[in-house]
Symmetry: none
């Protein structure tokens, strides 16, 4: 209990550094993501950074982890709301949630998805995909009439990847020909047609 204020300050410092890291990434790009710059933006000396992170990569990982965690949480929340109810409604709601999550910080998404050369990134995205995929596989296996596709695992792999990618690309590229509602409609058609054709 006596350590509470210190822990609080420790948390605060980590927060400042991670926030600074995120800012540097968004505003100046990955090339500018140097320990000195992150420290400066955090209003902290370079040495302090190393009291809270073992090295440069560690900050980056936290930023990445946080980003995908946020996205995953939003999608999971939406999924939880509609638990048990599979079908068009759920697909639309989930895709919507994913879009909203990705739109929330488009700048960071751009850097994270297109600039970061880090393995950690792939791992985190893979984790999110796996999570949703497993849910879907289970559902498909439990309700044979919900899909005509022979292999639920394969079907989930296809659907999850397709949706994730369409959503990401739509958010990043903002194609003029496709409005947000259109995208949702198309995703619905894509998934519906695929599973039930």
């Amino acid at each position: 209990m006596r350590k509470a204020p210190q822990q609080a300050r420790s948390r605060e410092m980590v927060e400042r550094l991670v926030t600074a890291g995120r800012r540097v990434l968004v505003e100046r790009g990955y090339d500018a993501f140097s320990t000195n710059r992150v420290a400066t933006v955090a209003g902290v000396s370079p040495g302090s950074l190393y009291q809270y992170f073992p090295d440069k990569a560690a900050i980056l990982e936290v930023v990445i982890d946080r980003y995908w965690e946020e996205v995953a949480d939003r999608v999971a929340a939406s999924l939880a709301d509609r638990i048990g109810e599979f079908g068009p409604g759920m697909v639309r709601a989930t895709t919507d949630a994913l879009l909203t999550a990705l739109e929330a910080d488009r700048e960071l998404l751009r850097v994270v998805a297109e600039e970061l050369p880090v393995q950690r990134n792939r791992e985190r995205r893979a984790a999110l995909e796996r999570r949703v995929r497993e849910l879907m596989t289970t559902y498909l296996a439990a309700r044979p009439d919900s899909s005509h596709r022979p292999n639920p695992a394969v079907a989930s792999w296809v659907v999850v990847l397709a949706i994730e990618n369409l959503a990401m690309r739509w958010v990043l590229d903002q194609p003029e020909v496709v409005t947000r509602d259109q995208l949702l409609d198309e995703v619905l058609a894509l998934v519906g047609g695929y599973l039930l054709a």
Copy 2:
């Protein structure tokens, strides 16, 4: 005409450097992609490199451009073989061609797609996508019965992105649950179900 030999030599140098760049990328990864190393591998002095490329990024861009050009060429060739014939056969053949193109140099694909922090990458991929998309949009517009989707441009956007991404992820991740043939089947079902549902 007097410049021909110099141009020839110039071409040759550019070639050596680009080839060296590709090799470095594939064999040692982007971290090792330093101008000095590329020059060394090309058997050329670091200074010479700057006679043919304004900076490090320029070489990288050529390597990237070449890569996606190759992929695009293969896909285009397959498309050309089946010109006029839309339908399952063409989708399968095109996807097959894309897979083959991506499988041809999986190592480089990995580096290009996951390690390179460069915007140029996105641009090139976008160019490939646009090319195929336009072809498809034209076709869909010309043959209304080939698709039930209201907007051909949107439908093309969806189909092209979905296929491209599924193919890339399959080549990179090599998911155990999905064989190559299965992938082709699923892509077919996905596209067919979407367009004709």
Copy 3:
């Protein structure tokens, strides 16, 4: 009198820090001798260290001082045992005592003699040498027949340095060709031959 307990605590702290310093030196070498590590090993905060020592060098000096003081004390004790009796017996006994003192903490000797870049080291060793030298000079001056060398001060300088160095090098290098007893014999022959030739 009111300050006594504080002084006591002060002593204790100094003790802890010096002991920790010695440990760090012996176990991890001079490179690891950082104020932070010494403080950690002492179970004390880095800030506290500066309440008892003005800087890093100061701790090091105390460690060095202590080391040579210990050695000097052991040699002095041996000398005291044989006060008044000069000759082979005393030389052998003194050299033996020196060897024993140096062997007592060979690890620390190694660090102190070969790793420490500090002038202080020289000063302390010089103090030990002077102490023994003066004793010897006095004796030689008092008993002219104990030495045929013309200048007692010079003779003492030679003998003390020679013995000290031979002993140190023997302990540190552990030469295979020379056993401990042989070393004592040789030192005896060296000193005896020199003084009485």
Copy 4:
């Protein structure tokens, strides 16, 4: 042959850096021996240093190696002059040569012998000692009447260490009580008395 000027420049650069290193060591001490300072003193950029030396330690080693090589060469030259002639004359001449060698750069000797924490130093000194020791051992073994000591290897070990140390300490400490000639006389008496007593 075409590379001659470049090699010449390379040599020159190495020379400049080593000289600068030596200067830094002598004038500012080992603490100030940073790559940046050495480069600055050499009138060269920090990067250049790494074109000629793999790391900081490498320069230091060259400085050390050169120093002891110089000393060894001088001693060896003196030894060569008196080849075959053992006895007082040779001991005196050799010790004289050693003294001269050590006196030649007393400042560097001080740093090398008392400040450098580097293992390399020990190795180099050990090499010099071994060289002379082996010569002496061979001689003693060949001419049994040149020494009454039972074990030539041991006798050489004792004599070489004693002389080396006495010389070094005399040069470094410049004791008032001992003149240079006195030192030579005493060394002679020491060695003579030891071997022939």
